[in-house]
Amino acid sequence: MNWLIAIFQTMLFVLLSPLLAGWIKWCKCYLQNRKAPSLLQPYRDLLKLTHKQPVVSEQASWLFVTAPYIIFSATVLAASVVPLIAVNLPTSASADVIVMVGFFAFARFFLALAGLDIGTAFGGMGSSREMTISSLAEPAMLMAIFTLTMTASTTNLSGAIAHVLNDGMVLRPSFVFALFALILVAIAETGRVPVDNPATHLELTMIHEAMILEYSGRHLALIEWASQLKLMLYGVLITNIFFPWGIAEDFTGKALGYGLLAIMGKLALLAVFLAVAETLVAKMRLFRVQEYLSFAYLLGLLGMLSHIILEASR
């Protein structure tokens, strides 16, 4: 039964992620005085792409064709670790947050290889930029997450969330620092403005898009879907760790239903914040990203210090 719910939760993750992408787009369009496409547009785009025949370069090796499946699977596996509507599920018990970060790194490794594989200047450029950014983002992310896990004394996400739930509304300075660090990392890792611009057509400015420039058809659909999933994953991490209220603690239908409603509401709200932030700022110069991510790391570090100084002694 628990396993069924765990699988159901992962399915929800996969199925709802395009909706979140559509909602963010809708909010951004609204803020830019434009008419927004339907919320279901990302689903239609994915469906359209699956109908198209993928065009693969003659120079591409097996890696280029396999990479989309690896990336998608790895991201789905990462999603299965993160509690979406319920805590204490067997999947979350079997793997902790470090495994989740590992899955991300695994997916990115293949994405960067695929970018290099076809040998175009843009692919290589994108891979190089992506690796530069992720090498700075990963420590910052781990630092933020360690702060949380030190409070809960576990690296298990489900356990950490349950701990926050049981403690009730306590204002922890370390959590405030960690929250901001995680938001900054999330923006960088999911390729949003101001680090990357997911909507651009300018090859020379691209990071994530430059790596997948040569993909088409179902391969592109899988990669697009994986990045939508990654975006939702980060959203869920932020909302469920710092604001876990509403998540189901037992597996009754009612609790799960409330859990689903709660997470959708929280994500919708978070998306509004993201859209506002993306509308307010221009993309930063590529060489500023290191300062930005160092700042995220610093916040994570401050979070950990304030945990040790203010909270751990008690």
Binding site: K28, N33, R34, A121, T200, L202, L280, K283, R285, F287
Partner: protein, 534 residues
């Protein structure tokens, strides 16, 4: 023509050395015409650069046994047309590009189109005529057919010898000619190390349409239509320049009302394009909010154009001798209303942009073009104005209707993308004021007269009569040279878009920038591919 300007002194100086120039003037007495021997072609340019003359344009013409080669210079708003004749049997001319870098591409274009060999040219690779063309076919020679000699399958343009660079970690990025956005085709070749741009080389010519060739033999009306299509975004500018040249050749004056309407059209074109550009600059740094606002404002402006003039981009509104459409009282009111609205909307939008520090971080100091380089390449318009080149045809060589109004030439001194952004905004403001002044004059006294014509009667110009039209398009100074054949037919038309002089500056201003900053550098300059390739 007043003799109290630098041309007299310069001419005396030249004639006291090896030159023996007989001063003459093009019809209309505005532009001096100096003929020299071909062997002294380069020597002249050395004297010219000492006198700080600006190289403005260069073109050639095939006349039976000779090629007539022209170069246009400017100083203090006074233009001098330098001319020489080269034997068609052995067409050789010492290059001016060694002295004036601005002449470089223009000479390569002439070399490709006529087969004139510019000796000592620093870079004699083909330019407009890509490798796909046969070795010895020169399209602008009279014996070359108008329809060209296209092979069944155009061979690929494979072996252009790009500048190479070697070294640890140096790599090449080829971009284009087909781009991801909806823009014109052009190829950019970068040499980069890491993200730093070591060298950028442009490869243009992909939109060569043979404008100069198909202009031959046209009637004035037909040529005006063609001129309006040299570059779709500068249809008013090019059409005006071509008409001005034809009117000079024919010796006619346009009615004052027509001049005022031309002024309104040209300023309208300037505003629409600057709005589009400012939005595009913001879009390239992912500040999409601003882009959407500018696009909206531009769209509203264009719709008013469509309502009043029947064409969003104002194509074919200017005709030889005047304009094709009148402005009614109601239309004037509509334009005035639009001017007020645009001003109000901009006054709300611009502070939001000015105060945005993330935008500031991207635009300030990026894409620096030093005044020295801007001067060497003769950059024009907003590119020159933001790098210390204080020149505007409307003020410095005023033509009707600009000779009756006063306005302030926008200037910025930071030489970066932000300067080129804000100089456009200042130009929009100046243009709005100009439109208001023109409309006020339209309504004044005589101009309201019903009998006021919009078009001067056309007079067939004599064979060989020529004209040089010079106007300030939205990108900067546009020159158009026209010579008539007998029977009201065009013998030669050469339009010089400001892009021809601005494109080389892009190669310079991207140096020491990083690769992802190139798109916004490019957009801040926004050269016309079509106007460059002809």
């Amino acid at each position: 023509m007043s003799s109290l300007n630098w041309t007299t002194d310069f001419l005396n100086q030249l004639n006291s050395t090896e030159f023996s120039i007989v001063p003459a003037f093009l019809p209309g007495d505005k532009t001096a015409l100096w003929q020299i021997e071909s062997t002294r072609w380069q020597q002249f340019s050395q004297y010219a650069i000492e006198q700080k003359l600006r190289w403005a344009a260069g073109w050639a013409e095939h006349a039976e046994t000779v090629f007539i080669v022209n170069a246009c210079f400017e100083k203090e708003g006074i233009y001098v047309l330098l001319r020489t004749r080269v034997n068609a049997g052995k067409p050789e001319l010492p290059s001016q590009a060694t002295v004036y870098p601005a002449a470089n591409r223009s000479e390569r274009h002439t070399q490709d189109m006529f087969g004139i060999n510019f000796t000592g040219h620093p870079d004699n690779r083909r330019w407009t005529r890509h490798q796909a063309w046969p070795q010895h076919s020169y399209p602008l020679r009279k014996n070359y057919p108008v329809q060209g000699e296209p092979p069944a399958i155009t061979p690929p343009d494979m072996d252009y010898p790009f500048v190479k660079s070697y070294g640890e970690g140096v790599y090449e990025i080829p971009v284009g000619p087909v781009h991801a956005g909806i823009i014109e085709p052009g190829h950019f070749r970068f040499q980069a190390v890491g993200e730093l741009i070591l060298n950028l080389e442009e490869r243009l010519g992909y939109v060569h349409k043979g404008i100069e060739k198909i202009a031959e033999g046209r009637t004035p009306e037909s040529l005006a239509r063609l001129a309006g299509r040299v570059s779709g975004d500068t249809t008013v500018g090019h059409c005006w320049a071509a008409c001005m040249a034809m009117e000079q050749a024919a010796g006619i004056e346009i009615p004052p009302r027509a001049a005022l309407i031309r002024g309104i059209l040209a300023e309208g074109e300037r505003i629409a394009n600057h709005l589009g550009d400012m939005g595009a600059i913001c879009n390239d740094v992912a500040f999409i909010f601003a882009q959407m606002q500018f696009s909206r404002l531009r769209e509203l402006w264009l719709r008013t154009n469509a309502t009043i003039f029947g064409h969003r981009l104002l194509m074919d509104t200017i005709v030889p001798g005047g304009v094709a459409c009148d402005l009614s009282e109601a239309s004037c009111a509509l334009i005035k209303q639009d001017v007020v609205r645009l001003r109000k909307e901009l006054s709300e939008l611009m502070p939001a942009i000015d105060l945005n520090s993330s935008l500031e971080d991207r635009l300030y100091t990026a894409g620096y073009l030093s005044p020295e380089i801007a001067e060497a390449f003769g950059t024009l318009g907003y590119v020159g104005l933001s790098s210390g080149q204080d020149f505007d045809v409307r003020r410095d060589a005023a033509y009707p209707p600009y000779d009756q109004v006063t306005f302030k030439v926008a200037l910025e001194d930071q030489c970066d993308i932000a300067s080129r952004f804000w100089v456009r905004y200042k130009q929009i403001n100046a243009a709005l004021k100009l439109i208001e002044q023109f409309i006020a004059q339209l309504k004044d006294g005589v101009n309201l007269n019903e009998s006021q014509t919009l078009q001067a009667e056309w007079q067939t110009p004599q064979a060989d009569s020529e004209g040089l039209g010079i106007v300030e398009g939205w990108r900067g100074e546009i020159t158009a040279y026209i010579r008539f054949d007998a029977g009201n037919k065009i013998a030669r038309y050469y339009p010089r878009d400001p892009s021809i002089l601005n494109w080389p500056a892009l190669e310079k201003l991207t140096l020491n920038n990083i690769v992802p900053d190139f798109p916004v550098c490019n957009k801040s300059l926004n050269g016309s591919y079509s106007g460059n390739d002809l």
